[in-house]
């Protein structure tokens, strides 16, 4: 079972003079499904990039189970943390299988070839994401939803303990949004994968995440259970609009709707 903890300790990041992340403290506990929500430009995507060392925070530290992220190689990090980026472009001409196989790179030394073991893992990852039937298709012929699932399969092929998703449901229709979120929840529950998911969709996040972190202007405005975070006064303060919050008829989780 997964016991890795990813923890940010007072991290700040600025592009030139513009501060995007300001003194962020947060931790993803093993087996947790955390949602990060907040308005555009509140620093959510930058947070993901700092948590996998695509960007180095100018201040503060990121810890992966007692080791500082900056002391690890890209390959070491990629064995534990997989990232599903926002609205991925995949290079044309590669098959879905080949793209998912790229997820095995962190586990292969430069002289090693992919083995049957790697192919088994890729197959399992593709079956879990229902992309195995697409294995021989060229990725430039897949729909947005299929492509997104292929990228999630690639992340799974990394055999990570922590999965970071940057708006995985953006640009997807409601059916594919639900498919992706169900898949993420299933992976979280059945494999104990710790998940941090950045989302624009308050209701989707509230339905699926056990904890929400609400960003505003590069700071954590508040965090807690969906019921604590999705509240009319908080949303008015952060988004500047009046929303009605209703309990979901079945799950009792909060839903924000236009009032």
């Amino acid at each position: 079972m997964n016991t890795l903890q990813l923890r940010a300790e007072g991290i700040s990041f600025a592009y030139r003079d513009q501060i995007v992340l300001n003194e962020i403290d947060l931790a993803i506990q093993p087996g947790e499904l955390v949602g990060v929500i907040g308005p555009n430009g509140s620093g959510k995507s930058t947070l993901i990039k700092c948590l996998c060392r695509t960007l180095m925070p100018q201040r503060g530290r990121v810890w992966l189970d007692g080791r500082e992220l900056s002391s690890l190689t890209a390959q070491q990090i990629a064995r534990h943390i997989a990232v599903v980026p926002q609205a991925v472009e995949l290079p044309p001409g590669f098959t879905a299988f080949e793209i998912v196989m790229m997820g095995r790179i962190p586990h292969l030394a430069w002289w090693q070839n992919e083995t049957a073991h790697d192919r088994d893992i890729v197959r399992a990852a593709m079956e879990a994401t229902q992309t195995w039937t697409l294995a021989d298709r060229l990725v430039n012929h897949l729909s947005g939803g299929e492509r997104q699932r292929v990228v999630i399969a690639r992340a799974l092929a990394q055999e990570p303990q922590i999965l970071l998703l940057d708006e995985p449901t953006a640009h997807l229709d409601i059916k594919h949004q639900i498919e992706v979120m169900e898949l993420v929840r299933c992976l979280n529950r059945e494999r104990g994968l710790a998940v941090l998911i950045v989302s624009h969709d308050l209701n989707l996040a509230a339905q699926y995440c056990s904890r929400l972190i609400l960003f505003k202007d590069g700071r954590i405005y508040t965090s807690g259970s969906p019921r604590q975070v999705i509240a009319p006064d908080i949303l008015r303060e952060v988004y500047g609009v009046n929303l009605l919050v209703l309990p979901h008829p079945h799950t009792q989780q909060p839903m924000a709707v236009v009032g």
């Binding site: 890209a74 990090i77 980026p85 590669f94 997820g103 021989d136 060229l138 690639r154």
Partner: protein, 358 residues
């Protein structure tokens, strides 16, 4: 075998065209291309001022093998022509063709730019300046100075691109174009200042590329650099595939992007510099061959790199055979032939695969 499932309203014709049914037979394809290379090489050796029939040619070669007992039915001159003139030239053309195609494939993959060619990173302008200095100042040692110029320009361009922060494909290309223009201006100035028409002509001829001065010595000179460069590039074939996802995703998949970029730029430039040093600047091979391979067989570098090398070698042998026979006894610069045949063929491919991967 790859079968496309035709789903929904997506354009069916393009889907069918874009599958690579040959993907399963890659080993056989590479073997076939090697066979073609050898046959073309042997046939090229029959052409020239003295025509040596193919069967005699094969006998001359087998006679050289240890333990062979073949009675010589040919004059010793033929043997000299074959072993001292034609074979080194053909082998060198093959090596240079393979070198240029490999480094072109590497640059196109690394910079994710289909217009990248072996000369983009200033290799040719650096080599040009080196060779021009060697010729104009009468130093001799053209290959050596060309090689130093090529590698020096590459290092300078890499340093310049890096100075602006992280080396991205765009900064590398821009730095390459800018420094290339600067070095070419220096070269032009040297040519303009020099008042020997003969030397100017020599510079121009060198810039268009030629195998006229090939020898086993040039083969031996370039081979070690080639082998080192090739090894580095082939080892990184899988990484080149991952780089097609972009720097960010490659990094998130555990690729040390900065280090790999530097290593591949160095390797590809080494390969190109070695080729340029022995043959001058031969254009189009490095641009077109990898591109054509990608159009036909797809972008997987594990196949793209060896296939480009084999076809580049074959193409340059053919081009050089035309260069030395078309206007015999005088020679055409082989660069003219590569551009003359390469460009139309490339346009043809582009039209055939218009909806493709470019």
């Amino acid at each position: 075998m790859i079968k496309t499932q035709l789903v929904g309203t997506r354009t069916r014709a393009s889907q069918q065209k874009l599958t690579y049914p040959i993907r399963a037979h890659r080993g056989a394809l590479l073997l076939g291309a090697s066979g073609v290379l050898i046959v073309i090489g042997a046939m090229a050796a029959t052409f020239g001022s003295v025509a040596i029939p193919l069967d005699v040619l094969l006998q001359i070669i087998t006679a050289k093998l240890p333990g062979a007992q073949i009675v010589a039915t040919w004059t010793p001159t033929w043997e000299t022509i074959l072993f001292d003139i034609r074979l080194p030239r053909i082998v060198l053309a093959a090596l240079v063709g393979g070198a240029l195609a490999t480094s072109g494939a590497t640059y196109q993959g690394l910079l994710r730019n289909p217009l990248a060619d072996p000369y983009l990173i200033g290799v040719s302008s650096g080599a040009g300046l080196g060779a021009t200095m060697a010729i104009v100042f009468g130093v001799g040692a053209i290959p050596l100075l060309a090689f130093i110029g090529a590698m020096g320009a590459t290092a300078l361009i890499y340093a310049l691109a890096r100075a602006g922060g992280r080396t991205t494909p765009t900064t590398l290309i821009l730095a390459g174009v800018a420094l290339g223009a600067f070095l070419s201006a220096l070269t032009s100035f040297l040519m303009f200042k020099n008042d020997s028409a003969f030397r100017t002509h020599q510079v121009i001829a060198w810039m268009m590329g030629s195998f006229a001065l090939s020898s086993w010595q040039s083969v031996a000179t370039m081979l070690p650099y080639l082998v080192v460069g090739w090894l580095i590039v082939y080892v990184n074939a899988r990484v080149l595939n991952v780089l097609q996802l972009g720097d960010t995703q490659a990094q998130q998949l555990g690729v040390p992007v900065e280090r790999v970029t530097m290593m591949l730029v160095a390797a590809a430039s080494l390969i190109t510099a070695a080729a340029v040093a022995v043959s001058g600047v031969i254009g189009f091979v490095g641009l077109i061959v990898p591109h054509a391979v990608r159009l036909v067989w797809g972008p997987d570098h594990r196949f793209l790199l060896p296939m480009s090398a084999l076809l580049g070698a074959t193409f340059l042998i053919i081009a050089d055979t035309f260069a030395r026979t078309l206007l015999a006894p005088s020679e055409l610069p082989v660069g003219i032939i590569t551009a003359f045949c390469g460009a139309p063929f490339f346009l043809y491919l582009l039209r055939q695969r218009k909806e493709s991967l470019v």
